[in-house]
Symmetry: C2
Subunit: 336 residues, 2 copies
DNA sequence: ATGAAAGCGCTAACAA
DNA sequence: TTGTTAGCGCTTTCAT
């Protein structure tokens, strides 16, 4: 057994009640300066540290938030989580981040985390990646990240996907492209659908007809982007630009283009979304829509803590914007 | 206040003592089948879930491990953590992963996590990234990841860095390269030094003289790899191959080569370490040493739990190996 | 096989 | 300003 000193040891040492010690370590006002000094000396001398568990026990709060994402290795998710941690730490909270690759795992995880009251609140990254959103308990503070909630009373933080896609497509149009293909993420994810909407709106606005056959559904992987371009080529589609809904798929497109001896950007312009690390190191460097991903995590924590601490659940859906980063994978049509 | 049922509610409901309920939820043997059924029915009916905090309180264990890395976004770290989580979950443990970009943050983090007994053990990824290792308390179970411990009594899991570098360099030598440059990580990290050792041994074995001026220290970033090649070129070094100690720097080298109109692999062979995602999507696809990164995390948890649970601290330094993945950034000298 | 009592280390509510 | 008394919800020990 560990012989760590308790609050009572400190009390004994400094000749006050344990409650006064509690007051000191919690920075309460109503303690006389002398007593405070006395107690602080005893704390120092004994090397006393309050036990987080005992505290949680007494106040019924764990000061821990869970953050569940499909995985940890995707740069986007990792950045969000890192942002969330930074913010949480400021408030003396901890983030317990876990990955749930499927909804079954998600269900079990939430069951452990929330059911056993291990956390005070829940951040769910990509809640609509599958049917996992169904397994979120109603009685726990939750914030969705990466998709605005379909239900009324859940807060969310996400990218303004429609606008991002609109801006990306608009960029291609302004460069003079007329045959712009779209590669989406999985269409069960709201963000894929919203981005498809933005693409459509830009096309509409430019007076281009929307062509179903210029859209292929991918799964965010580079391979799926590669396959998508191949399928366009096999079908003999005429296209001079591709908007891939994320950078990885855009990278796949550039790879397929290289293999097919299609020059990017002169014969085919490519734009992605994310500005992931190394986007500028591909050949050619990738034009993309840069999001402030850590901020998404930070905002999520901020909102969640408002709910957790003040029970203040004014519903909010925060949408952040993205910035166009022009590199060499897009170029004015006919230019060189 | 939450009205969740406690163990006593279940006891009342099923007409037994709360202690018997405790026995049932802990799967103890000495409970009669009938009583068990009775209690289980009550648990079901009331929707009872034991409180993790109360449990921790009573047994003095949190069933939580901390995992601290320099950041979460580096793919290598993220993979290790993900591996650690998977393993931990099997043992019903949770991982509280935090990033500490500098040793001051690390110190505060450890202070919070370990000082307040929020976790049962500690996994430190890249303990020698700076002087953070100095802030690790002696009285807590620890496992180092990514570097074998310099101290005697600390367990570690890492890549067999010397061998990996030896194999990589050997690959270049066997292809006929004679002027092989080395780009290292920060030399304060053991893994950079070990990899430099392996490079040297391969050179020695081939009868090549070690040339100080063919070595440049980078910082793992693509930019530093790019700068490194530039500096070789500016100094007019003759080189036909580069061994970069990680993939990102290798990518930087390829980028610099492209900018300088040097053809990879025909004029310059490049090999990295990690096999990070998209390594195969660069131009040309990168030859690299692939490590089983999630396994490093898994092993770390396994070892840590042995220490935590069985107090069994037989010191161990586990070294894992890597596999050569030949892509198109290396080629037999003179071949095409 | 079951129960009673004590306690894990703290905070909350009230009293002095 | 300070101390006293009760818990928080569980496990552990010792009886029975």
């Amino acid at each position: 057994m560990s012989n760590r000193p308790t609050i009572r040891d400190v009390a004994r040492q400094s000749g006050v009640s344990h409650q006064t010690v509690s007051r000191v370590i919690n920075g309460k006002e109503d303690v006389s300066p002398e007593t405070r000094t006395l107690v602080e000396a005893a704390i120092e001398e004994l090397g006393y540290r309050p036990s987080a568990v005992a505290r949680s026990m007494a106040q019924g709060k764990t000061h821990t938030l869970a953050c569940i994402s499909p995985n940890l290795t995707d740069f986007t998710f990792a950045s969000m989580i890192e942002g969330a941690e930074v913010e949480a730490r400021q408030y003396k909270y901890f983030i317990l981040s876990s990955s749930a690759s499927d909804s079954q795992t998600f269900k079990e995880l939430v069951n452990e985390l929330v059911g056993h009251r291990r956390v005070d609140g829940l951040i769910v990254i990509n809640p609509y990646a599958d049917d996992r959103f169904q397994f979120i308990p109603k009685d726990v503070p939750v914030v969705f990240v990466g998709a605005s909630a379909r239900e009324e009373n859940i807060c969310s933080v996400s990218l303004d996907d429609e606008k991002v896609a609109y801006d990306a497509t608009r960029h291609l149009i302004q460069l003079g492209h007329k045959h712009i293909a779209l590669i989406t993420g999985p269409m069960e994810e709201d963000c894929s659908r919203d981005r498809a909407e933005g693409y459509r709106r830009a096309l509409d606005e430019a007076g281009f007809a929307f062509d179903e056959s210029m859209v292929v559904e991918g799964d965010w992987t580079a391979t799926s982007g590669q396959d998508a371009l191949l399928s366009f080529l096999e079908q003999g589609r005429v296209l001079d630009a591709v908007f891939a809904q994320n950078d990885r798929m855009a990278i796949g497109v550039m790879r397929a283009a290289r293999d097919a001896n299609i020059k990017v950007p002169s014969q085919l312009a490519v734009i992605g979304v994310d500005d992931m690390p190394l986007s500028s190191y591909f050949d050619p460097p990738l034009t993309t829509m840069r999001q402030d991903i850590p901020r998404i995590g930070r905002e999520a924590v901020r909102i969640l803590l408002e709910i957790v601490e003040k029970k203040q659940s004014k519903v909010c859906g925060l949408k952040l914007s993205a910035e166009l980063i022009v590199r060499q994978s897009t170029l004015k049509k006919g230019g060189e």
